[in-house]
Symmetry: C2
Subunit: 359 residues, 2 copies
């Protein structure tokens, strides 16, 4: 045993569960005391990795030394595991998507309130450097007011793993990667959603979506194109963002990217028409050299506590959660709306509770 | 005078009119005998360029030596000029967009039929090398069956010129560049349109759209994202196309691009998870080296007559027009539908007459 003040058990010791174990090794406050998994091979993996494997989930929540349960199972069992842990007076960290249906999150939130325990969803990608860089450009109006955001992840490997191919455990790309991209978007754009259009892709023949494109419009006039793909053998940039004074692009997680801004107030030479295919175009000609400036992406200083530090601060009553359950609920309702919009092939409006209490 | 068999007058000697004059200098069959423009400065330009400037449009159509009238005026006067020319037994070449409203084209088509003259729209970008290359990849299933097409032009110069800023003469980017991209799309994808979603941009404060994104779905299951922008200081690729066996990209009119295809039936190593921001991902990891092959874009052999040669062949009864008026009408109706879909912010379905006679 260590002297770390909080003991945590990881429930579901698969890809994400073992990733959390690795991350928490470095953490000075949270101690991983064990794991629980229903699969024999994952129990063995846990033992090999040096973590006690609990015999049953009941044994986890009966263990008075356990302060925090971290849930990294398939999505359809998050709720029962979370509620049992909360009722046993444990705090809960839960992987994303928190639940498949928003009503299930609402139930969990009610239990958390009644038991006075904290339930915090691991929307880890709010801390991604690419996102924080775009958010900095957005917040500091470095390309003017941003009015259009394109956020994409495009893979070429199809849908990975086992349960992600299936509908019942909450597979599919909208719930898997979509939840991240939408969470980032709503964490950045402080405006009510006015409409959603969406197109889900089923080209791989799975019963769940293998990708999607959705166009979201906001009350403040801005628009977002959010896309996840798993059949993309060439990748478009991770971020492509348009402001009233320029454009920013981030290619991928290596943080290759740039900002190009318009030079105002200078005596700018008009662009010269270029030959473009079988025609001339002035509209699509490159601007004259003096008309624009290219710069590097800003270096972002971390201003938020890390996810785990924030969990501890919340448990100790020292901070609000960075990932608020109301925000997670709003994203989940947006996902439900995207499913509906795609199924009906219709634009859906007036569904976003925004800052009103949505429960 | 030359010995070229057909005499042509250019009506509207602006950017496109003078561009046609330059192109036709090389043409062995069509002789530019003069121009007409309502602006004194453009008449002077015509004289300087060596082309007789007619005193009036009546003088153009009264001239028995004139075989063809080429219309390169603002869009709102195409119809009256075209109908007068057809009634005077001239053939007519008309710049795009042919008219602002589809009913106007229908009227012209009726007059052309009644007068037994040819009316042909200059959809020159059907001959663009970038488009023909994508069409070759499409037709020859070089990346499998193509199920998603993204076709974009993105400028950084705002809306150019004078009348393109105004609604009455048919300004705006949907009518200007949109008509090309949509014409190319429908010339390539042989399927009925099942739905249209669209979002027009008015960020520059003009009374017309300064760009748009539209998502079109087809009966054959494929989708297209068509985009025109004039506030894009960084450009996404001109073409981004997904097939069941790969992806193709063309960066711009310089024809930089590539094809990446999936290698089937080989013993492919699964992709290794990569660190991506604050998480691991296998889904978005690059495929293993043996899993994909990269190749150059195909070299396209021209298989169609040139636009002007086709006009002459049509006049001489030797060929069908490559740009058929029914096709132009279908594109115009699609544009009208895009305007409607954007204004209502709704998905519009069941409007496309496709191969049925739409008049």
């Amino acid at each position: 045993m260590t002297n770390k003040p909080y003991n945590l058990v990881i429930v579901g010791y698969g890809g994400m569960g073992s990733y959390h174990a690795k991350l928490l090794k470095e953490n000075p406050t949270i101690n991983v005391v064990g794991t629980f998994d229903i699969l024999e091979e994952r129990r063995t993996a846990s033992t090999v990795d040096g973590y006690k494997s609990y015999e049953s989930y009941s044994a986890v929540i009966a263990d008075h030394d356990v302060d925090i349960v971290l849930i990294a199972t398939p999505n359809n069992v998050h709720k029962e595991i979370a509620i049992a842990a909360l009722n046993a007076k444990k705090h809960v960290i839960c992987e994303k998507p928190v639940t498949i249906y928003s009503e299930d999150l609402e139930e969990i939130m009610k239990v958390a309130e009644a038991t006075e325990r904290n339930f915090i969803v691991h929307q880890n990608r709010r801390w991604d450097k690419d996102f924080l860089t775009i958010k900095e450009i957005y917040d500091k109006t470095m390309i003017g007011n941003i009015f259009h955001i394109e956020s994409r992840v495009q893979g070429a490997n199809g849908i990975p793993g086992d349960w992600r191919h299936l509908k019942a455990p909450g597979g599919g790309m909208l719930l898997d990667w979509g939840v991240h991209l939408l969470d980032q978007l709503l964490f950045m754009v402080d405006s009510k959603i006015t409409s959603v259009y969406a197109n889900l892709s089923y080209v791989l023949g799975d019963e769940v979506d293998d990708g999607f494109q959705t166009i979201i419009t906001f009350e403040n006039g801005s628009t977002a194109l959010i896309e996840v793909g798993t059949t993309n053998f060439i990748q478009l940039p991770r971020w492509y963002v348009k402001g009233t004074a320029g454009t920013a692009v981030i290619k991928d997680w290596s943080m290759e990217g740039r900002i190009v801004t318009q030079n105002f107030g200078v005596d700018i030479e008009a662009p010269k028409p270029i030959q473009a295919g079988q025609g001339l175009t002035k509209t699509m000609a490159p601007p004259s050299g003096a008309a624009v400036s290219t710069s590097n992406l800003p270096e972002v200083e971390p201003t938020m506590e890390s996810f785990y530090d924030n969990v501890v601060s919340v448990i100790e009553g020292k901070a609000e959660p960075i990932v608020k359950n109301m925000e997670v609920l709003r994203v989940l309702r947006l996902i439900e709306t995207i499913f509906k919009a795609a199924e009906a092939n219709e634009v859906i409006k007036d569904f976003d509770a925004y800052k009103a209490d949505p429960i």
